[in-house]
Symmetry: C2
Subunit: 362 residues, 2 copies
Amino acid sequence: NMIKVAVVGGEGIGPEVTAQSRRVLDWFAAKRGAPMTLREAQYGLIPYLATGKVLPEDTAEAMDEADAILWGATGGPETKEVPAAARKAGSLLGLRSKYDLYANLRPIMASPALAASAPLKAEVLDGVDFVIIRELTSGIYFGEPRGIETLPDGQRRGFNTEQYTTNQIRRVARSAFELARTRRGKVCSVDKANVLETSVVWREEVIALHRDEFSDVELTHLYVDNAAMQIVREPRQFDVMVTGNIFGDILSDCAAMASGSLGMLPSASLGPVDRYGRRKALYEPVHGSAPDIAGRGIANPLGSILSVAMMLRLTLNRPDDADLLEKAVQTALASGARTADIAEAGTKKLSTVEMGDAVLSA
Amino acid sequence: NMIKVAVVGGEGIGPEVTAQSRRVLDWFAAKRGAPMTLREAQYGLIPYLATGKVLPEDTAEAMDEADAILWGATGGPETKEVPAAARKAGSLLGLRSKYDLYANLRPIMASPALAASAPLKAEVLDGVDFVIIRELTSGIYFGEPRGIETLPDGQRRGFNTEQYTTNQIRRVARSAFELARTRRGKVCSVDKANVLETSVVWREEVIALHRDEFSDVELTHLYVDNAAMQIVREPRQFDVMVTGNIFGDILSDCAAMASGSLGMLPSASLGPVDRYGRRKALYEPVHGSAPDIAGRGIANPLGSILSVAMMLRLTLNRPDDADLLEKAVQTALASGARTADIAEAGTKKLSTVEMGDAVLSA
Ligand SMILES: CC(C)[C@H](C(=O)O)[C@@H](O)C(=O)O
Ligand SMILES: CC(C)[C@H](C(=O)O)[C@@H](O)C(=O)O
């Protein structure tokens, strides 16, 4: 029962960091017998120049057949060399939608080793350990109608539709409740139900699912503006937070940065469970393609490496291997291994490859 | 040429903090000859119990005829004793809309005196001084169509419309550019133009207005998720930030909390300039009604008092008086005056009234 993994480094620092997590994957296959076959594929500017497509057929096929995709990063619409239409045809948003990757898990963890580089005070960050689940395939990102129109008086008007249905809400809320059961048993649902009808339905459906199936889990609710405050005021209070697409986009980036570990945070985007019990998943670091440092070999590979840990836990169902890898990362950090983004002034900075070495030897 | 001020304490701690800013207003009228007439009016639960309306006619009239409204706080839809329909009939959202208060100014300032109570590190906060301008009367808060429907398959669907037109964008962007000219000359516009058409129009209109009338101002753009990160990573980089209604709601609360001065931050909501050059305005502290501490006389009145400083500057056009008041607040803080929310453990805590005294004597 081999697990198929597609390894897609993408653009900017994506290929550099993914090369290190690839080494980690190889190690788990060789040394711990993790049953996987790996297939590398290209995405972005380079295949675009060769084939006219950011997502060439070979890559699409590798991703289609994969159980798990290890994704690096993409430059997104800013990359000047690729026309917007070509970008759009193979966009990450399109892939999320194609594979119905509706549950985006973003763990937020404060690493004591990194307290010095975090914007939040150490006493605020101490012990922070929560997961934001962002709904990833609905909401205002995909709602119709959307567009730009010219009004009779000559003004232009841009419009988008925020929307959620019962099923879209319940399936992501279910992911949150199930995850909470494996953790500290607390879910905080975030919405703007004092203003938006979409949020009223969101809140009511979360409450109904909780009442019917998850009353053992503690459920609370926050308005999104208050949630943004609580994430910087007292992030320790959270265990699992669940919210819609755009709110999750903003809150998870805010929380990641506040924790000081943006370069180190992994994510998993999960699809529905099929009739064989399989669940397609895309794993990627939270950071982006960072064009300013691409090609210099100094990017932090820990976000990508910890995404492999999530893959070991969630797709390969090997929690012991996931723990082993997470501990190796902590050991490397505790021994002082730092890439430039997390190094204190005047201390030694490892290259991307050296950080990979540090984790592998740990 | 008397300026008409309506003083509406509202609910929770609103009346307590407003009583102190009322004393400050009286002082400026008596001692500095600030030309104002004050009219107090009630809002919320108390008038509801007496008249069946949270916004009784007398209050509506006082606000209608006022040049400036000094607003306290409202409990909002959570207050159990008032039915939702009665709430809605006199809601703050409705007032924003009625008076077309489209430009919501929220200064974010880090007070060195409060570094100990801020979640962000002192070195991150040092020197932070920027203003978030939130568009307050359009966007997803007011967009149509909106509602909750039942789908053919029995699911429910909630939907809202995010939308912005040329004029809605340009007038709030104009406020931002004009404000930047009186400050450090920098505007950062925040949107999600990589995903939302509404944001595409937002960005294009901001760019066009900048090119046509404000090319002396430095203009930059951030996606909203990145803006949330930058606000906690390096808030010093901002001078004036301008954004839409829901993004501004989230970002301004996040920034207020991160700065550690939530209880101390003022805000101003400005309407259009009329043909006599007047501009209706509502001034209110950023904090809410805080029902948990209401009636105990311990709330921090500085957010409301500093809102009076904004009124002196923006409505009364008395910048010297505004400076005087802001300096008095800094003097009071520097001498150690602290309400419970900003006091370090083990230090003396002033009551709401004592903090009012401290500012008045300074
Ligand atoms: C690039 C962009 C479309 C994307 C998003 O908003 O979802 C990114 O910010 C993310 O969070 O993965
Ligand atoms: C109470 C609520 C409707 C309001 C808003 O979202 O505008 C509040 O959060 C605010 O920011 O003034």
